[in-house]
Symmetry: C2
Subunit: 325 residues, 2 copies
């Protein structure tokens, strides 16, 4: 059987920086892949054309026709209307206001198109192919600039009533504090890349005032924002101020995870983004706080581990959507 | 067909104060009911004998034999081992340490016996027969002396990995504060009957000091503990101190509910116990806090209402377990 006769899946991962388009066999095996910068500031039209032409090119290269597409799956930032298939102004895609991507791609390729927000799609991908394999009750945390989550209960994705379950970044940890998800003292304010940068900014300012040396002072004085990457690099070189910032972020992350442990009693919490790069520098303080804050048996039962799919999570997530997992 | 030929269900609701035993047809229709004081201080043996003799008496009265029992369902306080059917020292049943109730009843009646903790069983009962009818994603809060929850996701009971999902009472709201679930400043410390009593005790002491009049001062001076019932009665008579206690408890309840709204995006939160008796005195402040603290669409989507089954919830809960719902 040649690829032109078998059924193919198309996965589309639309991020704020780059968009990937994949052609896969079913069961999943990637046949071809295209990637291009999303450039949201130029509006959605350009990216949509590149998605369509990318799919057509990959089909042509493999001697396959459009009729061989079984399904298309789109993973992108929320909010979105999953049923109608409309992308609704995600914060990472300015100008993408009410883009009916399902209708656009179904008209172009005459195959069903499914869409899902990236936290949910990532949860499904890690559950099926990554660090969540074999888990029954899992929370997948996306810890990047923001903080989001996808929730698996009894082996299935739990989306909630408006597809908005798992908005952990919006939970309140303190009355005041760094801002995340438009809320001071929120979980995203304290325990995300963006929040960590705010905490670092203050910590470095305080260190300079107290004449404590830190590798981050030069960056601070230059006026450039301190990023999670800078903090991680300094911490790995033993910088005490950076280590303190990581520890306090890890502890705040632990407070969030303790809530998840007490409420959802998961067997695994899988954390993507920063946790993959920073590992135990972030997760050890988090685990300590869980042991102190959450109920004993659920705390002992729940493994807290970094995600495994790394850079390929977007690809896997988009394919999972196309596979209707 | 006489009852002796048809299959019957037995529901057993074991509470800290009373135990009820029910005989029901299937589909559920209560045929007979017995109730007796549990008296946990006398050990489990007496209650277990009363359960067994109660079932036998009801069967005899209705000309039914033991073979006509299809299944028995037990609802009681956790922790318990649902699979093995063992009651493991629930706080409301001192002396009930590792009681293998499933084995005991299966040996006595040669029919399958299922057990479930009362928060989960209550959630299922309200979902099927009460204020949760038609809901897809529901949280049922038991707000009595303590604070617990049962969670329905996509129409099914979600139990978690150790049957310990929904331990909302253990969530931290503040660093210090009233004690609940062995934790200062916990949700149960702030937003339960027990927590409200602690808050009232302090509020009345402060009122007396400031010479503010309150109907609760006499009770306070007598040395008797102020209960949620006393606070409710005083509030209904317009007592300002009591109203303030209710409002602050309602606000703390709202903080807990906002966490549930952001994490689970339920279409309904159903609250039993105090919320049934105090209604909007408690729920209005809670709804205000949800509107302020939780995400807009999930907050608007989620109805927050009192439970409907009232005193009969234990009966319905036990029968739901026997029905394997």
């Amino acid at each position: 059987m040649t690829t032109s006769e078998s059924k193919l899946l198309v996965g589309i991962d639309i991020g704020g920086t780059k968009t990937a388009v994949l052609l896969s066999a079913e069961p999943p095996q990637v046949i071809a892949r295209r990637e291009f910068p999303t450039r949201p500031e130029q509006g959605p039209q350009r990216a949509l054309e590149l998605i369509k032409s990318g799919i057509r090119e990959m089909l042509a290269e493999h001697g396959a026709c459009e009729q061989s597409i079984a399904r298309l799956g789109v993973s992108c930032g929320g909010p979105l209307d999953r049923i109608k298939g409309i992308i609704q102004s995600p914060p990472n895609l300015p100008t993408w206001d009410d883009v009916p991507i399902k209708a656009i791609l179904e008209e172009a390729f005459h195959a069903e198109c499914l869409i899902e927000n990236d936290a949910n799609a990532g949860a499904v991908a890690e559950h099926r192919f990554g660090a969540g394999k074999g888990s029954q009750n899992m929370v997948f945390l996306t810890m990047g600039t923001g903080l989001g989550a996808g929730v698996i209960t009894d082996g299935r994705l739990y989306r909630g009533t408006n597809d908005l379950a798992g908005e952990v970044g919006h939970l309140r940890l303190t009355r005041t504090g760094p801002v995340g998800h438009n809320k001071k003292g929120s979980a995203e304010g304290w325990a995300s890349g963006g929040g960590m940068a705010q905490v670092a900014q203050q910590a470095v300012a305080a260190a300079i005032k107290k004449k404590r040396p830190t590798r981050l002072s030069k960056l601070y004085r230059s006026g450039s924002p301190i990023t999670a990457k800078d903090i991680g690099a300094a911490a790995r070189q033993g910088d005490k101020v950076a280590l303190e910032v990581l520890e306090s972020t890890g502890e705040k992350l632990g407070e969030v995870l303790a809530i998840l442990v007490d409420l959802l009693n998961p067997d695994r919490i899988v954390i993507g983004g920063l946790a993959m790069r920073l590992g135990d520098l972030l997760l050890e303080p988090a685990r300590r706080v869980i042991a102190r804050e959450a109920l004993e048996l659920p705390a002992k039962t729940c493994q807290v581990i970094p995600a495994e799919l790394g850079e390929s999570i977007g690809d896997a997530a988009a394919l999972c959507i196309a596979m209707r997992i």
